[in-house]
C-alpha cells in the first residue's frame, strides 16, 4: 500500500517536473526564435488583428460595466466619509493598476487564448505541424512567434482602451447619475495618478500577453490525440492561463507597489 502511494507520488512529481521543464524550454526557444526569425510582418499584423482588434467589442463591454460598478461601489464607500470627490481617483487607480490589466488578460484568454490552442491543436492532430517539419521549416516561426509578438503588442493597447472606457464608465455613473462634481472627478484623478501607476499597468499587461500566447501555443503544440485531445488542451489552456495571470499579478503587484 505504502509502496503504491510512494510510486504514485514519485510518478506525479516526475510528470510535473517534466511538464514544467518542457514549458520553460518552449518559452526560452520562443524567445530565441523571436530574436532570430520573428516571422513575417504580415503574419504578425494578422495576429494583432485577431488577438487585438477582434477583442475590442468584449473589452469595451467589460470595461464600461467594470467602470460603472466601480463608480457605484466607490461612491457608496466614499460617501460614508464625505469624500465623493475622490471617486475619480478610486476608479482610475483601481483600473490602471489592477483591474484593467487583469480583466483585459482574462477576457483575451477566453476569446483568443482558447482559439490559439484550438488552432494549433488541430494543426497538430491533422499532421500539419509535422508537414512543416518535413519541409525543414521551423513551426515556431509560423505558429508561435507571430502570436507571441502580437500578444505583447495587443495586450497593452487593449489595456489602455479598457482603462479609458472604464474611467468614462465610472464618470457616467458617478457624475451623471449620482451627481459627483465633474471637475473634482477628473481633477482628483489627475492629481493622484502618477507615471508609476501607468507603468505598472503596462508591465502587467505586457507580461500577461506573453503568458496568454505562451500557454495558448504550448497547450496546442502538445495537444493529445483526436478531438478530445484538442478539447482538453483548450480547457487546460484557459484554466492555466487564468491562474498564471492571477499568480503573476500578485507577484508583480508586490514588486511594483
Amino acid at each position: 500500500m505504502v509502496s503504491v502511494l510512494l510510486r504514485f507520488i514519485g510518478r506525479s512529481t516526475l510528470a510535473f517536473v517534466r511538464e514544467v521543464g518542457r514549458m520553460g524550454w518552449f518559452l526560452l526557444y520562443s524567445g530565441y526564435m523571436i530574436a532570430r526569425r520573428p516571422g513575417s510582418p504580415l503574419q504578425i499584423l494578422k495576429q494583432i488583428k485577431f488577438i487585438g482588434a477582434k477583442s475590442l467589442f468584449v473589452i469595451f463591454l467589460t470595461a464600461a460595466f467594470t467602470g460603472m460598478v466601480l463608480g457605484l461601489q466607490g461612491y457608496y464607500t466614499l460617501a460614508k466619509f464625505g469624500s465623493e470627490g475622490m471617486l475619480g481617483t478610486a476608479v482610475a487607480l483601481s483600473l490602471i493598476r489592477e483591474l484593467g490589466p487583469v480583466l483585459t488578460a482574462l477576457m483575451v484568454t477566453g476569446r483568443a487564448g482558447s482559439a490559439i490552442t484550438a488552432e494549433i491543436g488541430i494543426m497538430r492532430i491533422s499532421e500539419q505541424i509535422d508537414a512543416l517539419e518535413t519541409m525543414a521549416l521551423d513551426p515556431f516561426k509560423y505558429l508561435v512567434t507571430p502570436k507571441l509578438i502580437a500578444a505583447m503588442i495587443a495586450l497593452p493597447l487593449l489595456c489602455a482602451i479598457f482603462d479609458t472606457v472604464g474611467i468614462y464608465g465610472g464618470w457616467l455613473v458617478g457624475v451623471k447619475l449620482l451627481g459627483v462634481n465633474p471637475g473634482a472627478y477628473f481633477y482628483e484623478m489627475e492629481k493622484s495618478v502618477v507615471w508609476r501607476d501607468v507603468y505598472s499597468g503596462f508591465v502587467k499587461s505586457f507580461s500577461f500577453g506573453v503568458i496568454i500566447a505562451w500557454i495558448g501555443c504550448y497547450k496546442g503544440y502538445f495537444a493529445g490525440h483526436g478531438a478530445e485531445g484538442v478539447s482538453r488542451a483548450t480547457t487546460e489552456s484557459v484554466v492555466l492561463t487564468s491562474v498564471l495571470v492571477l499568480v503573476w499579478d500578485y507577484f508583480l503587484t508586490s514588486v511594483m507597489l
Binding site: 491533422s126 500539419q128 509535422d130 508537414a131 517539419e133 518535413t134 519541409m135 525543414a136 521549416l137
Partner: protein, 248 residues
Amino acid sequence: MIRMTNVHKSFGDQKVLNGLNLEIPAGDITAVIGPSGEGKSVLLKHIIGLMKPDSGRIEVDGESILDIRRSQLNRIREKFGMLFQNAALFDSMTVFENVAFPLQEKTRLPKEEIEQRVRSALEDVGLKNVNGKYPDELSGGMKKRVGLARALLLNPKIILFDEPTTGLDPIIKRAIHQLIKETHQKFGFTAVIVSHEIPEIFDIAQNVAMLFRGEILQIGTSEEIRNSGHPVVRQFISGSLDGPIQLV
C-alpha cells in the same frame, strides 16, 4: 540509401518497433506492408526524424539523423518530401498557397516563376481549376494529389508515402498508383510507400518489406514477396483469417 539498425520504440508498455533492421536502396520504390497497428507510419516518421527511437541507428545517405543539431537535421530533411495519410494540407490556405508554400519559404524565385511551377505541378498530378479552393472543399483523392504535388515540387531525392490510397475508390486508387509510378520514372527519387494495397503494390514497388511485431519479417523483390513461403507473409497477402496473424 536509408539504413535503420536495431531500432526500438515503445509507447508506454506497448513495443512498436522491436529491434527493426531495414535497408532501403536508393532510386527504388520500396513498399512496407504489414497488418494495421504494426507501426508502419511510426517507421516512416522515424526515417524523417519526426519521432526518435528509444535506441538504434538511423542513417540517410550515410549520415545519422539522431543526436544531431536541428539545423543539421533540417539539412538532411531538405532531401525529403512526404505525403501524409490525410495529405496534411494547411487548412487555412488555398490549394495554390499550399503547393506554393515550400517554394515561397525555401527559395527566392520570382512570383511569376512560382506561379508557373505550381500550375505545372498541379497539372502533373491531374488537377486543374482548383487553385482557389480550400482543402475542405476537395475530395480525398484530390487532397492526396495536392499533397503529392506539394511533396514533388522541390524535387526531393526521397519521398515517403504514408498510405497514399487508403479510403479512395478503385479508380482514384489506380490513378494515384499510376501517378507515383510515372513521377518516379520521371524524377528518379527513392520512394518508401506504406501501403495495404495488396496486390496492386507489387506492380508499383521494386522491393517489398513485411513489418510484423516490430521487426522486418521478410524483405525482397516484389516477386519474391508475392511468392513468399513464409506463413505470416502468405496469410497477409491472401487476406486469410486462418494463420499465425491473430485479429485480437
